[in-house]
């Protein structure tokens, strides 16, 4: 299990615990934890509704693929540490990270 922190749209932070050996994505953990993430495309890096900002802990993450960067670039608003949660695998590298929800499609 690893632990990381999620900051929602209101700025409230909560620590989450997730198994690092089940091949889950950050998007799946956010959805399972009842965060309002639409994840329209189901994890194909095609809709950008799971847009997050990695406030801390970006260094250890795998680099974004071209498909992911294409999506991020198309958003009206994006940040130097923007990522799509569906493209981030839950693993040791996420231990202690701080993730801020940025999906403007959140309802």
């Amino acid at each position: 299990m690893i632990k990381f922190t999620v900051e929602d749209q209101e700025g409230t932070r909560q620590e989450l615990e997730a198994p690092s050996d089940m091949g889950l994505s950050l998007m799946e953990i956010l959805k399972a934890s009842e965060y309002p993430v639409l994840a329209t495309c189901g994890g194909m890096a095609l809709c950008a509704t799971c847009h997050v900002e990695i406030v801390e802990g970006k260094a250890g993450l795998e680099k974004a693929t071209d498909v992911e960067l294409d999506q991020l670039e198309n958003l009206p608003e994006y940040f130097p540490n923007s990522r799509l949660a569906c493209q981030i695998r839950i693993g040791e590298q996420l231990e202690g990270a701080i993730v801020r929800l940025r999906g403007e499609d959140v309802v």
């Binding site: 329209t40 095609l46 809709c47 509704t49 670039e73 198309n74 009206p76 994006y78 403007e104």
Partner: protein, 338 residues
């Protein structure tokens, strides 16, 4: 004044895979369908988001590309002559005295139907809007999120914002129509099609367009209608551009939209249905596919197909109240076109 409404048995809201298969299932029971979709083409998210992606869990197809599945479903529905209203969003749903419904779209098209089938997937795809104060005030007064008729922009000063393919393509196209096109992009480079990107760079070099890179939209202003677009340039300085039109092109995202106002029971952006027949709490309105929810729901195309078949047998009583429905196999009866 609206022209006279389109009359049909079933009005299907959403022309994605489940909506298309619903036409087939309705057709087997001799019920006609009219489909409405907010997107300009049929196929829903399959055609809009991932046409070239392979799908592996359609029964009978070890692998099929999303667009191919849509094409096949349309072919399968053809014997039942479905009609379509595309590029329009359903805004109003009004119950008539006889229990039927009158549907009105964003463009004023009206459809009169005995039964409503909501197969709306994740809602309607709407343009992503930049976060700017007063943005809404200028919508329709200089700000548009899509180019419907390029002639609107003839001899006008047009600012296009965005860095994807549609921003590049429309910049190239409108450079021959508008008085002046300014393309604003937040990065130094484009990730869109290399051909289009170099064409845009050439146009900028030739002085035919203004290309402003590493800049962000900051504000919009004008009396009565849009007159200026204000940018934050690469040195964080304000830059004001004379503009008759601003076209922000930041892609599309799904929104539940007006469906939320139709008196249906909604849970987390999905419509609650009775699994007996996928009916909603409102008589004669059904919801199938990704837009519905019930205990154990799986958002799979194949589940939507199943829901369509069950739901049509329930809707039959509203279309043919005097007839008894008998279940028949296509292997016995074939497909009887109309």
């Amino acid at each position: 004044m609206n022209p006279s409404p389109i009359h049909t048995d079933l009005c299907i809201i959403g022309a994605g895979p489940v909506g298309l298969f619903a036409v087939f299932e309705a057709g087997l029971l001799k019920m006609r369908c009219h489909l409405i979709d907010a997107l300009p083409q049929i196929g829903g998210q399959l055609s809009e988001i991932y046409p070239q992606k392979p799908i592996y869990d359609i029964p009978g197809y070890p692998e099929i590309k999303a667009q191919e599945l849509v094409d096949n479903l349309l072919e399968q529905a053809k014997p039942f002559s479905p009609t379509f209203t595309l590029g329009e969003r359903v805004d109003l749903l009004e119950k008539q005295a006889d229990g039927s419904f009158l549907v009105t779209t964003s463009d004023g098209t009206q459809v009169h139907a005995k039964v409503i089938v909501i197969a709306g997937g994740l809602g309607c795809f709407e343009p992503r809007k930049p976060v700017l104060t007063n943005l809404e005030a200028y919508e329709g007064k200089g700000i548009s999120y899509m180019v419907k008729n390029p002639e609107t922009f003839r001899d006008k000063n047009v600012v296009i914002a965005g860095g994807g393919d549609s921003a590049l393509d429309w910049t190239i196209f409108l450079s021959n129509v508008a008085k002046r096109v300014t393309l604003v992009h937040r990065n130094e480079t484009f990730r869109g099609a290399p051909d289009s990107a170099s064409k845009v760079a050439d146009l900028a070099k030739e002085g035919k367009i203004d290309l402003i890179l590493s800049a962000n939209l900051k504000a919009v202003s004008g009396e009565d209608r849009l007159q200026q677009v204000i940018l934050d340039d690469k040195d964080n300085k304000e830059l004001s551009i004379e503009a008759d039109y601003l076209i922000p092109l930041f892609g599309l995202s799904p929104k539940l939209g007006p469906i939320a106002d139709w008196g249906l029971s909604i849970d987390k952006n999905a419509i609650e249905v009775d699994t007996k027949d996928y009916s909603t709490g409102v008589e004669r309105i059904y919801a199938i596919g990704d837009i519905n929810t019930y205990p154990g729901k799986l958002k799979l195309i194949l589940c939507g197909f199943h829901e369509a078949a069950i739901m049509m047998h329930s809707a039959f009583k509203y279309v043919y109240p005097d007839q008894k429905l008998s279940f028949k196999y296509t292997t016995v009866n074939g497909v009887n076109a109309f």
